[in-house]
């Protein structure tokens, strides 16, 4: 046991993913398979067991902690339905995974948008016997809208179609064509049998015609953060740190999570909305000052000039300005009980900023089956559309396509305080 073994375990990266599909597609079986086949992987890593991925022995269903896999809430068990997104955790020697497990049928938009909002990758489950269903297309459309960088189509139950390559190729062709229309950049199709474990964590003996990586190898090799560190620098200010202690009487630090990009000591910055400029004096953390920081680190910046910055402001680099406007157009997924309609007022929470907003127009709503744009006056629960808002004061933003962190917002009902919408700025 050496320090090096611990380093290996500690230096794995984090991948957030979302799994969509209905119970009938074998989602619970797949999740159980992933949890079981990766269990003990940390132990192998720590003890430096040099087994092939530590996964040579396929576990049996009896090893699965079924209590954690079945529905978590008493109402779900009583009614035999899944109400809510559940979060699962598993790890391999290369990666730690946080998986948002979204129920397929009930309120799928609400749950999927929630689960997918933080995900870098999505697994879409398809039952090989049924092929691409209307529901599959709806899910794919929503995942595309949310800008999930990598979509993995897991064609499950290959054992029930005799591991027939033609069945898989048919589904792959159909998904490729559909995703091309959606602007999906990275689509990977994998034939699997979650029940037997083929092509999930191990290749198995039944799918030799498939030359790609297993599902787990794929998950281990996807980029974790995308290119968020290469985007323009954005630091939405959460708080101003003013200890006002005898040791630090005049200290002013700007605290926040770097939403995108990198920053170095000495860089010229500009604060919006004030437009004041300065240079970075220190990048402060509890573990010592840094020379450079990058997304998504949580840091505190001190500046060489005493300029006015407060919560809701954004620090960017000179020359990397955001868009700003009092009119805002966005794709909105509506998740409120009461429909969204023109003239209604909401609160928009965008980065660390909250502003009042009025709906100036419902530009269209999307028919989730045909993807046609329909004229509409309102958006009901689980509907998606294009909305234009008039804001009480300008927001500083990027388009969602350019920057998920500074292009997204939530809508809050001013009366109930509930979160009623998810917005993606166009």
């Amino acid at each position: 046991m050496t320090e090096a073994n611990f380093k290996l375990v500690e230096e794995v990266e984090l991948l957030r993913l979302v799994t969509v599909g209905s119970v009938d597609d074998g989602k619970s079986t797949l999740i159980g398979r992933l949890l079981v086949d990766t269990k003990g992987a940390f132990e192998d890593q720590l003890l430096a067991v040099r087994k092939q991925k530590g996964l040579d022995s396929i576990a049996t269903a009896a090893d699965i902690d079924l209590a954690m896999l079945t529905d978590g809430l008493s109402a779900e068990r009583e009614q035999g339905i899944t109400i809510d997104v559940a979060y699962r955790y598993f790890a391999t020697p290369k990666r730690k995974f946080i998986m948002a497990d979204c129920p397929g049928h009930e309120q799928y938009t609400r749950n999927m948008v929630t689960g997918a909002s933080t995900a870098s990758a999505a697994i879409i489950l398809i039952d090989a016997r049924s092929g691409v269903m209307p529901q599959t297309k709806r899910h794919t459309h929503i995942l595309g809208l949310l800008g999930i960088p990598h979509l993995i189509v897991a064609v499950n139950k290959m054992d029930l179609v005799d591991f027939d390559q033609a069945v898989f190729e048919q589904i792959r062709a159909e998904m490729n064509e559909y995703c091309a229309k959606q602007g999906v950049k990275d689509l990977i199709c994998i034939p699997i049998s979650a029940l037997d474990g083929d092509m999930v964590a191990v290749r198995g003996n039944n799918l030799d015609w498939y030359e790609g990586k297993t599902l787990l190898e794929t998950l281990e090799s996807l980029p974790t953060l995308g290119d968020v560190d290469r985007l323009p620098f954005r630091l939405p200010v959460q708080l101003v740190n003013r200890p006002q202690t005898t040791e630090l009487p005049d200290y002013r630090g700007f605290m926040g999570t770097i939403a995108s990009g990198t920053i170095r000591v000495g860089d010229e910055i500009i604060a919006v909305p004030s437009g004041n400029t300065s240079t970075v004096k220190e990048i402060v953390t509890f573990d010592g000052n840094l020379q450079e920081a990058f997304a998504p680190q949580s840091v505190t910046l001190t500046l060489n000039d005493n300029i006015d910055i407060s919560r809701g402001d954004m620090i960017t680099r000179v020359g990397e300005k955001t868009g700003d406007s009092k009119d805002l157009t966005a794709n909105v997924c509506w998740i409120g009980d009461e429909p969204l309609s023109a003239r209604k007022k909401y609160i928009i929470k965008h980065t660390t900023n909250s502003v009042k907003a009025m709906v100036s127009s419902v530009d269209f709503k999307t028919d989730i089956h045909t993807l046609d744009h329909l004229d509409a006056d309102e958006l009901a629960m689980n509907e998606i559309g294009r909305i234009t808002f008039k804001l009480q004061k300008p927001l500083h933003y990027d388009s969602y396509a350019d920057n998920r962190a500074t292009g997204s917002f939530i809508l809050i009902d001013t009366f109930t305080n509930n979160t009623v919408g998810a917005g993606m700025i166009v």
Binding site: K96, N241, T285
Partner: protein, 302 residues
């Protein structure tokens, strides 16, 4: 390839610090629940990181049942003094005066009075609108579905069927008068992450987490630490004996079991945690029973 990489622990740390800062920015009077356990120790460490170099902008609240281990009280007082934290200790004195204990009143009633009611009273007395807790989603199945910002009504109760969706890292902290939130910044940490982080960051923890020869009573399948005061509470046939053991999780002494273990330092604890295929909460009597955690949370437990 980009050279900007965050290890998974650093990514979790950044997320937790973000959440802690959001609460301080958006709430009038937050407080951090501090149970002296390993998860609380990590949570407190993250809070110190979040506001460095300033001191903690909120107090720590320990809801004490009077049944905690001696080592926990000693550790709590020494550590809070060392880091300069403002510690508030509250107990349900009414129930304690009436002699509340798990043996005579049952575990559920004892927990309800000393923990849940004690917590609700303390939160009401302090007029806190947000309370940080160290719960994790991998601990228990109802927690797997709880939000980071868990809304509570005027009675501190959780309604699992009516939770606000949480999108991106945009937390909705808007509440009506009388409502409050419980905030769980380490929701996405697993038990393994907690141990790895304690090891890497050298976070001080209660010595009970490390194995040594301890006087124990074996009750059903649990190892329960024996203290002189428990003499009259021994059941028939029970006899204290020395066992090499440690605690994976710390609660009240009558209701928290130890495990047989030789893990005497953090390296060995991490290896043991990695090897373990059993849930850490197995040694907590409180969780046994069909819906116990969910029921307790609905009533106001954290």
């Amino acid at each position: 390839m980009s050279e900007h990489k965050l290890t998974q622990l650093k990514a979790l740390e950044a997320e937790s610090i973000h959440i802690i800062r959001e609460v301080v920015a958006e709430f009038r009077n937050p407080v951090m629940l501090y149970s002296v356990g390993k998860d609380s120790s990590v949570l407190l460490h993250l809070a110190r990181k979040a506001f460095y170099p300033a001191p903690l902008p909120f107090s720590l609240l320990h809801v004490d049942t009077g049944f905690k281990f001696k080592e926990m009280y000693e550790f709590r007082d020494a550590f809070c003094k060392e880091i300069g934290a403002n510690l508030i200790v509250r107990r349900n004195e009414d129930a304690i005066a009436k002699g509340m204990n798990p043996k005579d009143f049952g575990v559920a009633r004892c927990c309800g009075a000393l923990k849940t009611q004690g917590l609700l009273d303390a939160l009401e007395e302090g007029e806190y609108d947000a309370a940080f807790g160290g719960a994790r989603r991998d601990e228990e199945r109802s927690r797997a579905k709880e939000r980071v910002f868990s809304m509570r009504d005027e009675f501190g109760q959780w309604d699992p069927k009516n939770q606000r969706p949480e999108l991106w890292s945009l937390y909705n902290g808007r509440i009506h008068d009388g409502e409050s939130v419980r905030v769980f910044p380490i929701s996405n940490w697993t038990e393994m992450d907690i141990w790895l982080y304690i090891r890497e960051e050298k976070i001080p923890i209660v010595p009970l987490y490390f194995a040594k020869e301890r006087l124990m009573v074996e009750r059903k399948h649990l190892l329960i630490p024996y203290y002189e005061e428990m003499k009259d509470q021994l059941l028939e046939g029970e006899e204290p004996k020395m066992v090499m053991s440690r605690f994976r999780t710390l609660g009240c002494s009558p209701c928290t079991g130890a495990i047989r273990s030789d893990a005497v330092n953090m390296d060995e604890i991490v290896i043991e945690a990695a090897a373990s295929r059993r849930s850490e909460r197995e040694t907590r009597i409180i969780d046994h029973g069909s819906n116990s955690m969910e029921d307790k949370k609905k009533e106001g437990y954290f």
